[in-house]
Every structure is written in C-alpha cells, then in structure tokens.
C-alpha cells in the first residue's frame, strides 16, 4: 500500500497539494474500494471495477466536505474521476 502520511495540510490549491491526493487515496482505499486493492495516483478507478456508482457519490461527498466546496453535478463526469490524478487536475482547474 502506498498511502502517503495523512496530514492536516494548509493547502490553497488541490493541484499542488500532495496531502490532498494522499488523503483521497487513503479514503478510497479504506472506504470505497474492496479490501486489499492497491491504489496509487494514476490507478484507473473505473476500468478495474474499484469504484462503483455509489463509490463515485462517496468520493464526491468526501471531496466536498474536505475542501468545503460544492461540485456541480455537470462536473461529475468520467473524465474527471478516472484516477486520483484526474481528480486533482480537475480540481486544479476550479
């Protein structure tokens, strides 16, 4: 398991924030994906069946709570959630 240490973080931008990606990976590994799944930043979360439709909702809700933002329903699309890297890139554009 390659989960970076969880830290409080005083980040301003998701795109430059390693702690955010680490915490997100930790959340997906512990709560969303099946037990024992190896998840890294560029793991394809969709083709490998790690994250189902409920998992997508859980990830969105976690990000919204963590970053205190609201993600528009129109932005919850496959391209933005293909991997943790993709999520970070998407949030960096916001």
């Amino acid at each position: 398991m390659t989960v970076p240490p969880v830290g409080a973080g005083t980040e301003s931008s998701a795109a430059t924030d390693g702690n955010f990606a680490g915490r997100l990976i930790g959340f997906i590994s512990s709560t969303v994906a099946p037990d024992g799944a190896e998840i890294v930043a560029d793991t394809d979360l969709l083709l490998t069946g790690l994250v189902d439709s409920l998992g997508v909702v859980m990830i969105v809700e976690w990000i919204e709570a963590d970053r205190n933002i609201t993600i528009d329903a129109a932005d919850v699309v496959l391209e933005h959630f293909q991997s943790v890297d993709a999520i970070v890139a998407f949030l960096g554009t916001k």
Binding site: V51, S53, L54, M58, E61, A73, A74, V76, V77, L78
Partner: protein
C-alpha cells in the same frame, strides 16, 4: 420472393445482408456506436458474418450452446448475432458475476463454446474441467495456450475469417437461454426460441413505433433481457443502437451527455438508473429534445421519483414495462402525466401480443374475485419454451386451461400478485413468495420497499422479515441513508425513528417496519436490482452488510 418468405422466422435473418439493406435508410450510416467507435450497417453485417464463419470453422454446430461473457460493447452485439447466424444458441453470462457462477452456467447449459473478453486467468478459472470445442477471445490476440482439443479464436481469427453462410434452423429451436438465480440458489435457464424472441421483437418495435430514424440506448448487459429490445427490435426496425459502456453508467452526467451527443431517441432501463439521471444527470445542461420515449421496468418506480424525472423531461413519453423473463414483456402502462401523490404506477394492461388474467392465489383454476389480489397468468407467443433441462420446473410454471373448443391453452403462471383497479389497469402488489403475514395481516414486502423509496433522506431501502419462533413475524427495513455520516454519527437513532414515522403515514399499520437498520449499501443482483434474499441473509449481521459490497454496478 419464395426464398425471402422462407427466410423470415429466425433472429439471424435480422442482420442478413439483403434484408437489412431494404430496411435501413443508408447502409453506410452508423448501425451501432458507443460514443467513441461505430460500425455502419454494412460493417456490422460483415463483422457478424465473419465471426459466424470463424465459429463454424472452429466446430460450432447448429443447436450448440455458446456462452458469451463480454462487457457491454459493440462486440457483445456482433458476437451475439454471429452465434445466431451459426445456428447456435446464445447463452449470456453476467460479466460481473463471480467465476464460479459463470462456470455453473457453462456446465448447466453444456456449452460447446465460450466467447469472452476475460483475462487468461479468468478463462482458465471458468473453463476448468469443461470439454469445450472452441474458445473465442474477443479484442486481443495474445492468449495463453489452451488444451489442444479446444480450438482457439482470437481477434485476428474473428475478423479475418471467411464470412459464414446463414445456418437455417427450425423457428421453434432455441435461440437464447437466460439464466436466473433460482430460489434454491441453483441457476435455472429460461429458453426462448427464435419464434418467441421474434414475436417479442416485432411487438415491441411496433408498440414503441421504432423507425430507421431511431437510436436506442443499450444499457442492459446481454444477460438482462431488457437488452433483447436493442439486440433484436432495433435491427428489425432498422433503428441504430448506442451501446453505453459500463463505466459511463457510474456517472449520470456522463450518461446524459452521451444520450445528448448521440441523439438517442429511446431509452429502456430500470427505475434506479432513471432516478440517478434525475438526481445527478445535470439535465439543465443537456439537450435531450430528441429523447422521445423512456421505458422503465424490472422493478417499480416510486411515483414521486417518476414525477421528478417526468417534470425534468416534459416532452418525453414514459411507459412502465412489465414482464417476467419467461415471457419477456406482457403488459404496458403509458404514463399520461407526472404522478401526483403516492398512488402506485400501475403495470397497465396486456400489450398487443399477450392475453392476461388474474386467478385465485389458492386455486389457480379459479378467477380471482374482481378487486381482490390474485396471481397474474399470461398467454403469449413470447413465452419461453421452458426451463433448460428442468421439465419439473417448466411443468410447475405452466397452467393448461381449456380453450373453449375442446382443446387447451398454455398459460404462464407468473407468481406475481396483482389487483385490478377500477379503470381496468392492473397494479403490481408483489411476489407471491414475498407475501408475509404479520399479526394475521398479509403484507407485500414490495409495498414497503416502494414507500421507503419515497422517504426523504433514504437513498435506497428494502424490506425483509424478522421471523421469530412464536410465529409473530415483523417487518424490518434495511436502509441506506442519503448522507453516509448519518449511519456512523450520533443521529442514527433519530433518523431511523423519522423513517418509521414517515412510513406510518404511508402504509397500513401492520406493514410499518418495527425496526430500521442502517447500512451503507444493499446487495444487488447482476441486473442491478436490490437482492432481497441476500439482504434477508444479512439481517442478522448488519456489520457484514457494511463490508460486503456486492455487485453494485
């Protein structure tokens, strides 16, 4: 002309070159697409013929069962039609099901061939110990060596083969076998003939007014019989198909973007998917003006949720489609306007191919009293020929009734409880098996499910029974809250009480759950429906329900 008439009764004729040319507007127009790739009608017909040729050359014979385990894709359509063109019987396997279950389907159907896109390890797992004449691996060429008595076909073989002639079989011969999990856990195969499948395809194409200008979204995988609409009704009418890849189904906003960009005109799926479209489909940002008809079925649609989607899509027609896989479809209710209030959406009246009647649950030879609950029975040319190799189950599901002229007619006993409303439409009450008695009152668990579905703060819920030795059973609701933190936080008690209070307003006293158990997910069947039997098993250990994340697509 004579040969054209003779060649009209098989599913394989649907994609026969000369016929399809007369039916479609343009053979160079897209016939099937997935948002990235597409095939024209000419390419579709050619690929089907080549794959059929490869299967025949690899030893597939008329009547052979060919198991297909493919992710939903253009290839899943091509290979289905290739199997039929070879005169063989298509046996779809749920690609998300455990290998052991897939192996059980191959063994029970005594499959001669296996068509898949699975990994070498999965193929080995599923086919271990089976004597297969052919394994066809779709989409790749690097396949580990097989047992020498099995012919291997790879992507190259399937696309480079000589086109195979259409193999004629009898119209009453099996065309496909769909497996369902029997109540004992042993899967049972529902056999449909070319005749019954074509009868479905023709009636559905007519009823939903399909034309070559239509584009049908394919959301159901091959093992879910909703897909027969796109597999067979579409080419019958010359309509094209937009295959929705599984990852897109996890993103309602991506799904609606695909429906818009591909100009889909008809969508057939389950209410739980349409609910996600209403909640998270970003419909404000999507142009779905081409979408003329939404067909929903497989489970009941809570009326408030249906109203939400209908109000978001005011130009679209909505119909409730009903029918067990044994008859595919037999009833329909066209929803005239968005439901107001909590009255259930009826399953309607018999569709053009079927005759239905309601009989006494305790004596199926007697009609039910008008206005009382009874068991629905159906007579229809879309009926299965029977359960594969299970004459005992077939006999138990068929009722012979006098036809009034000295003969008898075959009726299928659905086991579904219905009641006729004053307007003549039937309302679905539940499965006879799901009827439980609480303090002497008959309760249909489905009625509790439907009420749960409309409670604020409930993402999904299912009713099960806590059976106690004294015989005084109670209803228990397993509920997934909309906000996951409710379950773990201190509000769980108050939330559960709120759900019960809300249900008291909607349900007869005896049907109100005595207990609400919060879980973070519910087990689902391979077709995406909530799996009540699995939920029942989890009742005694809700902790496992939290961990056991089964099959949610």
């Amino acid at each position: 002309m004579d040969s054209a008439r003779r060649r009209s009764g098989l599913l394989s004729h649907l994609l026969d070159d000369e016929r399809i040319r007369n039916r479609v507007l343009d053979a160079a127009a897209p016939a099937i697409m997935d948002g990235v790739r597409s095939l024209t009608w000419s390419q579709y017909v050619e690929q089907v013929a080549k794959a059929a040729g490869a299967l025949v050359a690899a030893g597939v014979r008329p009547g052979d069962r060919v198991a297909i385990r493919l992710a939903k894709s253009i290839e899943s359509f091509v290979m289905t039609h290739a199997v039929l063109r070879a005169g063989a019987v298509m046996v779809p396997v749920d690609p998300s099901a455990p290998d052991q279950l897939a192996a059980g389907v191959l063994a029970d159907s005594a499959a001669a061939a296996f068509v898949t896109d699975a990994s070498d390890a999965t193929i080995a797992d599923i086919t271990d110990g089976l004597a297969l004449r052919c394994i066809a691996v779709v989409g790749r060429d690097d396949v580990a060596p097989l047992n020498p008595s099995t012919n291997l076909l790879t992507r190259r073989d399937l696309s480079a083969a000589q086109p195979g002639e259409l193999v004629e079989v009898d119209v009453s011969a099996p065309a496909y076998i769909i497996y369902t999990s029997g109540s004992t856990g042993r899967p049972k195969g529902i056999v449909h003939s070319h005749q019954s499948a074509l009868s479905y395809a023709t009636t559905a194409a007519g009823l939903y007014e399909l034309t070559p200008r239509d584009r049908l979204a394919n959301i159901a995988a091959l093992h879910f019989d909703q897909s027969t609409f796109e597999l067979y009704s579409a080419p019958l009418a010359g309509s094209s198909v937009v295959v929705v890849p599984d990852p897109i189904l996890r993103f309602p906003a991506s799904l609606t973007a695909l429906l818009a960009s591909q100009q889909v005109t008809v969508v057939y799926s389950v209410p739980s998917l349409f609910r996600q479209i209403a909640d998270r489909g970003a419909l404000d940002d999507r142009d779905l003006t081409r979408l003329r008809w939404v067909l929903f079925g497989g489970e009941s649609y809570p009326p408030r949720q249906l109203a939400t989607l209908m109000n978001l899509l005011p130009e679209t027609r909505f119909s409730n489609v009903y029918g067990p896989a044994e008859v595919n479809q037999c009833m329909v209710h066209h929803v005239a306007s968005a439901p107001i209030g909590d009255e259930a959406v009826p399953i309607g009246t018999a569709w053009p191919a079927a005759t239905v009647t309601v009989v006494d649950p305790d004596d199926v030879t007697t009609p039910a009293e008008p206005g009382t609950a009874g068991v629905l029975i159906v007579r229809t040319p879309t009926m299965m020929t029977g359960y594969w190799n299970r004459p005992d189950l077939t006999a138990a599901s068929v009722l012979e009734r006098p036809d009034g002229q000295g003969g008898s007619q075959r009726w299928y006993v659905t086991g579904d409880l219905v009641v006729e409303r004053e307007d003549g439409e039937l309302e679905f009450l539940g499965r006879l098996d799901n009827q439980v008695k609480v303090r002497g009152h008959r309760i249909e668990l489905e009625a509790v499910d439907d009420a749960l579905g409309d409670v604020d703060g409930v993402r999904s819920g299912v009713a099960v029974v806590r059976r106690v030795a004294s015989g005084d059973d109670t209803v228990v609701a397993l509920v997934v809250p909309t906000r996951p933190e409710v379950e773990t936080g201190g509000e769980s008690h108050g939330f559960a009480n709120g759900v019960i209070a809300e249900l008291r307003r909607r349900l007869p006293h005896a049907a109100v759950p005595a207990e609400v158990v919060l879980v973070d997910d519910l087990p689902r069947t391979g077709t995406g429906k909530i799996d009540r039997r699995a939920a029942q098993r989890l009742l005694d250990s809700p902790r496992d329900a939290v961990r056991d994340r089964m099959g949610n697509p």
